[in-house]
Symmetry: C2
Subunit: 233 residues, 2 copies
DNA sequence: TAGTGGTCTAGACCACTTT
DNA sequence: AAGTGGTCTAGACCACTAC
């Protein structure tokens, strides 16, 4: 009965995690019920619940009503990626940020974009190309299409001082997003913007966002050669 | 007083989120205290606490004791990446998985690896190269160095049927990991393994893991051309 | 229909941080 | 010293789902 007052849900969480990792509770096996664990640890069921909920969030266990809590068969832990606007990313690495608008015009949506965003073909969209620099070296080229129907204000927004990404987050935050990372090979134009040669490998982030179900924008953000996306967990 | 019994922490969470997104509570502003919100929503403080905790997890607000809860200035939402072993990723896309061990030998740690893993130079490490196939097409080339001091069993592990990644997760799960995604250009050998030509852009995942602070393994996993990492949030 | 997790409550005490 | 979030408790009721 030595008191371990302060801590508790963390104690439960870490001990359960330990038992899973040391195979005391093997993959696929059923854990004791919350009530049983609460008895064992001599704490409230809510405490056990929070511990197990966190482990479920992190991908260690799966929980189902009536069936109970099982150790996940396929270990797959979840990494968190923090995605900010380019300015923030640049400033976080202690570099000086500079932004430049390259091109901006209203176009009627080409077919591929209409499918991508699920808007009607020929819908009016704002097409923007801009560059982000870190210490005056190319950091990211951003090409973006914005659905004017969903964000009408954008048509007259001033995008000379602030990138469209930042403008959108301030004026019309998205509610759903899909992202994809891929590796691409620079074509001539991209290479020029990045100050490199055609064929160089670069990492590209494509993002589609919606606002309450309304398609809002599709963006391609290509990073300078050598850029890495990092995280830890 | 119309009852909205069932739901509640989600109601609070969504309403607070709505107020943040609609700028009723602007960026950087202070939210009401948990107690005040509990009164407003006519619920227990614990309910408000859970709602706000989730919003903090998702990157909408920042919380500090005594200071209170603030709307984050730099909107940066968190994306969750689910990282599984190659087999699982392949099977999830309904392809047939095949594994092949290419090379396996015990070497003394070269300098760069010793720094990467923080082990003593010339420490004994197991060096493994292997391939993962999806429907018999190259999916991923994995090159890995495993610290024998931390995982002595690996020296005599059978890696012919199962990849080292999967073996490690089953035998010695890591506790900390760092990952980095970057775009690389295939050299001749890599191109051969991937059935493509040198210079092709591919996405590479580098991962270093520790077990309770002990350096365990460093791995480079290079994906076939065109592979994308996707997620939504 | 019974068992398990999901959630809410009301109250309490604590820890951290600012003043 | 005081205010705010962090957490725990004991009990309750509900929702889902396997049986």
């Amino acid at each position: 009965m030595t008191a371990q007052k302060r801590i508790s849900f963390q104690v439960v969480r870490d001990e359960v995690k330990r038992r899973i990792e040391s195979r005391i509770w093997p993959q696929g096996s059923l854990l004791p019920t919350e009530t049983q664990l609460a008895e064992e640890f001599n704490c409230a069921r809510a405490t056990v619940n929070r511990a197990l909920r966190e482990l479920a969030d992190q991908g260690f266990v799966e929980r189902k009503r009536k069936s109970g809590t099982r150790v996940k068969k396929e270990p797959s832990k979840h990494a968190k990626l923090e995605l900010s606007v380019a300015r923030q990313t640049v400033e976080n690495q202690n570099s000086t940020y500079r932004y430049a608008l390259v091109e901006r015009n209203v176009v009627s949506s080409p077919g591929w974009l209409a499918s991508q965003l699920s808007v009607s073909p020929n819908a009016r969209v704002l097409h923007v190309i801009c560059m982000h620099y870190a210490d005056n070296r190319p950091f990211q080229l951003e090409e973006r299409w914005i659905n004017i129907d969903t964000v009408p204000e954008v048509e007259h927004a001033d995008l000379n001082a602030q990138g469209p990404h930042e403008w959108l987050l301030n004026v019309a935050p998205f509610t759903e997003a899909e992202i994809a990372f891929c590796a691409i090979s620079a074509d001539g134009r991209l290479a020029e913007f990045m100050g490199t040669t055609a064929g160089t490998s670069m990492i590209q982030l494509e993002r589609t966002t919606w606002k309450n179900g309304e398609p809002m924008t599709f963006a391609r953000m290509t990073h300078h050669p050598g850029y890495c996306i990092r995280t830890s967990y």
